[in-house]
């Protein structure tokens, strides 16, 4: 798949502080989640890609164009900034129409009406943005970003302040855009939401790339971290003893009827469990991976630095 956004050896520092360090990465169609703790460099990387900040070294190209040199790239790339800032004196409709006029779209009024409908903000469109809730402002910003029907959409913490219903709507919208072949880059610290919408995850820690890929791929690559599996069964103590007698299990932890198994290779455990259940006359009611969520993977990445 061809990358629409190429980041090559980009570093950005502010005086002695290095915000982004030698990042090389490409973004293609689909939704990519950009993760990292506060200060990891996500927002700076977004701003460098958007052309809002000049890289201290390295280069960025969006569909073959450098945003710092060629502003026509903003016909195909937009950003929803992290800041809550909007023009509070404007109504939602005026804000989006202003974006349409500055973007030089053919029918600014009509296009504004369309994107306001897309983010389900039509009813509140004629109220001043100053009176909007945080979630409504986010949707207004998303509407303004959708104006040129962008090929590349950068979203910096787009779900901040949105209520659960609004979050679900926005996530559905971003997934639809990704499925339609748009390059959607979403930075967020809410891992569960990124997990719901992103096909691919980029984790940043201390300004550097910590991992790139799907959650499962990244977890599989962490060979130094034993995999953890929860097993609910009728006699977890006996099952734990039997498992520890095999060479495939590194450790077991008992908690009520629940056993947590640590193993280097979970496929071996998956083969062992039915056999041991039959041999020891145990009933296994539940098997669940304990650390394959994005949250666990991310915790490992941050701990590892």
């Amino acid at each position: 798949m061809t990358n629409t956004v190429e980041v090559r050896e980009v570093s950005k520092w502010f005086g002695p502080k290095v915000a982004v360090s030698e990042v090389t990465i490409g973004f293609g169609p689909g939704v990519t989640g950009l993760l990292g703790p506060n200060g990891a460099g996500k927002t700076t990387l977004m701003r460098v890609i958007a052309g809002l900040q000049v890289p201290s070294q390295g280069s960025v190209s969006v569909l073959g164009r450098d945003p710092r040199v060629d502003p026509s790239v903003y016909r195909v790339m937009t950003l929803v900034p992290e800041d809550e800032a909007v023009y509070e004196h404007l109504t939602g409709r005026q804000f989006v129409e202003l974006a349409a006029r500055l973007a030089k779209v053919d029918d600014p009024v009509g296009r504004a009406r369309e994107v306001l409908e897309t983010v389900e903000l039509t009813d509140a469109a004629d109220r001043a943005l100053g009176g909007y809730s945080k979630g409504m402002r986010q949707r207004a910003k998303v509407a303004a970003a959708l104006i040129p029907d962008p090929q590349v959409l950068l979203l910096d913490e787009p779900l901040n302040g949105a209520d659960p219903v609004q979050r679900a709507q926005l996530i559905r919208l971003f997934k639809e855009l990704g499925a339609a072949g748009r390059t959607v880059v979403v930075s967020s610290h809410v891992l569960r939401e990124v997990e719901r919408m992103a096909d691919r995850v980029i984790a940043m820690v201390d300004g550097r790339l910590a991992a790139v890929g799907s959650v499962a791929t990244i977890r599989a690559a962490m060979t130094d971290k034993p995999r953890q599996v929860f097993v609910d069964c009728t006699d977890p103590r006996r099952l734990g003893s039997a498992l520890m007698a095999t060479p495939h299990v590194l450790g077991v932890h008992l908690s009520g009827n629940r056993l947590m198994i640590e193993a280097a290779d979970v496929s071996q455990v998956a083969r062992l469990l039915p056999r041991l259940a039959v041999e020891d006359d145990l009933t296994i009611s539940r098997i669940e991976p304990a650390d394959e969520s994005l949250e666990s993977v991310f915790r490992y990445l941050v701990e590892g630095r």
Partner: protein, 242 residues
Amino acid sequence: MTLTMHLYRRLMMKGRVFWLVLLASVPGVIIAVAGIDMSSDGLAEAFVAIMMSVGFTYAIAALILTVSTLRDERDAGTLPYIYMRPIPRPTIAASSLLAGTLAAATIGLGGWLSTVLAGLIHGAPMSLMLPGAALLVSAAVGYAAIFVPVGYLFSRSVLIGLGYVVLVELALSGLVSGLAQLSIWRIAGSIYVDLVNASGIEVNIVLGPVAPGAGGGALKLAVVVVLGAGLLTWALRRRDAL
């Protein structure tokens, strides 16, 4: 024009506009008071002198307003809504300078109206009062060309602008003749003095070595505008926008 009008409206909607018009109206207040006991000849002479010397308060009003043109957008975090549009950087620079000029000129003309009103009360000739608008509009063009880029580049732009106004325009250019040629107020004053064909000690003190001349003054302002637009274009391309 969309960008210019957006920036202009943003500058003009603030509560500060009232106070800035008040500041720019100081000459009108002084003419209103000073004109009470004056003859018509004396008033005509005083009108030009007051416009030229006390009208200098307008520099402060123009500074406060024009530095905000892009600084407000940067500080509020709304600059991406302008910057990330398919607009060539020289166009953004020109639109910003035009918006700053329009806003400063609006304030200036508000102050000018107060002087005209005061002049009319005391019977000052219209031939002296009308070119006052040219003085303030010329100054607005020059100040916007300097202060809009300064506002974009520096977070403490008002302080830097005050440094220019107080040190260069008020203090040093009266002492160093070369610096007087860089004074926007003196350049605008040279246009005004030429238009009203005025002379006198007060006029000479304010203008210093800057020779009266509308054409020369306009040319100098054009150079300042080109330099200001160039600097702002460079900053938009080469400096972080956030």
